[in-house]
Amino acid sequence: MKRPRTSEPSELDLLAIACLLPSFLYVLVMFVYPFLYGIYLSVHPLKIDGFSLANYIAFFTDQYQYKTVGITFRLAVPNTIVVVAISLLFAYNMRRGIWLERTITTILVLPISLGVILLSQGILGFYGGKGWLNQLILGLGLLEDSLVLTHNFTGVMLSLFMQQFPFCFLMLLGYISGIDPSIENSARTLGANPWTVFRRVMLPLIAPGLAIAFALVFVMSFGTFASAIMLGQPSGSTRTIAIAAYAQAFEMFDMPYASAIAVIMGLFQLAGLLVIILLRRRMVTAATMGVGKR
């Protein structure tokens, strides 16, 4: 509604502001303040009075620290690609519903409800050195030695996949099954085989959803902490940037340095999102022009 700028705020406006106030306060106290305080802390190192970028310089000049960025990317990027690709494969093929859909979806979604710790324990029990999988493989004589699937890179990948796949799959399934089936049908009658339909018609229409899936899974993977500790080598090949921040905060008790690492992590996540958004723009400028359903 347009109103002259000089007019008095009406009762409705006051009421609206009053209704917004609690959530606004909550965001302010629980998110904005700690976030800004973290940034403030990060530029006020322990041993120096006043403003200094010493913590940031320390991070990027210490190989032990800056290596964590590479390690985190090496985990997050492949994991994101694998999770989104497999979710897309399942969601696309289930877009028109399948036999026992409800049961299968429930099974796929179950890991979400378990939480990271329980899930990681389960992975240790099943995939670990003395786990069921290895006992089965050795028992059947398929391999001489047991497979090493935990306490390394693979273990973290397994755990991240199981946490993120259900969520990513559900999101894409909702997105894809929302596309009008007659668009696909018309492509078929125009001579397109199923693969061409996917490549030329469906993929461009799914792309915006795919970009969101990429962004969310990437951010979640980049911040991985619990699985990297429980299923990885937290002092070696899976020392992610979140572990580095944790170590500074609760082992070295250097909160400002830990905050600096957290800010750096946030910036890399932001950079990742930016790349995804730019790629998406290039891919599908036109797809947002309008959808056939109306």
Partner: protein, 365 residues
Amino acid sequence: MKEPRCETIDSLRFRITKRFGAKTVLRDFALEVRGKQFITFLGPSGCGKSTSLNIVAGLIPPTTGEVWIDGERIDHLPPEKRGFGMVFQNYALFPHMTVFANIAFGLQLQRRPAAEIAERVQQMLDLVQLLGYEGRYPGQLSGGQQQRIAIARALVLCPRLMLLDEPLSNLDAKLRVEMRAEIKRLHTNLGLTSIYVTHDQVEALSLSDWVVVMREGLLIQEGTPQEIHDQPVNIFVADFMGFRNFFPTQVVAVGPDRDVEAAGNGMKIRGKTRHTFAPGASVVAAIRPNDVMVGGDAANPNAFRAKVDIVEYLGREDEVIVTLEAGGRLWVQTAARLTPGENVTVVLPPERVIFLPPEEDGGTV
């Protein structure tokens, strides 16, 4: 620009049954039609008409049955190998492609040279009167324009069979009439074979060479529009074709030339039938509101005294509900301006009254 003519089919024949779970959507629905015709599947929603069209297109597999085109069995072919064009109710244009790319889509898949594609797209845009729109996206077009692009996209491939699934249902009334004429023009000029699915009897009658009336997955009646309009086989088709007045009666006498005299409700009614009834049989007399005449001598056959109940203004004519003296209501469409409460004589012209079997029989032909 010269309009192209397309190769079309000589005959289409199928017999299909389709079940979705426990629900049978098509029960042994069989049809055999010649090519170069405009064929309409007509029926209320849920009668299986769209399902049968999708089965012919190859988009839904039949549970059992066969589809034959010109002596070739095609029900195992995927839709992209059938060479049919299809137009959908919600247009189904590719929202991420321009009008040009939408129409060119099928030609590009056939790997035609770019120059030929450009020429044929222009030809189609000219045909559907949307020249100059090639750079637009579907979201920037009105519903009627989108549907014309969808038709052009299907026609550019010169389909041997054109399938149209309620293409006008999403358009407003005025546009619907315009597009109806447009579709008929394209069908005739291009020499196509078309199957058109609709629940609108006016569309079916005005467009078709052959009408197939369906109900609950069964073929109820097929024939030319005149046949369906004038000689519906049962109450269902009659109701669909605009017969509003139905009277339960008993046959008194059967004359030559399918004349019937029946009595019921304290009235004697004469009319025609396409069925064979024996005297004493229960039959239903039916007549359209606009076939009822107002005025005349009450001593005439099929003339009854009545009292005007409700008058609705429809423009050129009024829709009037009268109560017959013998009991029962009658819908009348008449140019005579009547007033509620007035006593009138209504005449049901015997050549306009048809006798149908009662509802329980179903009575398919």
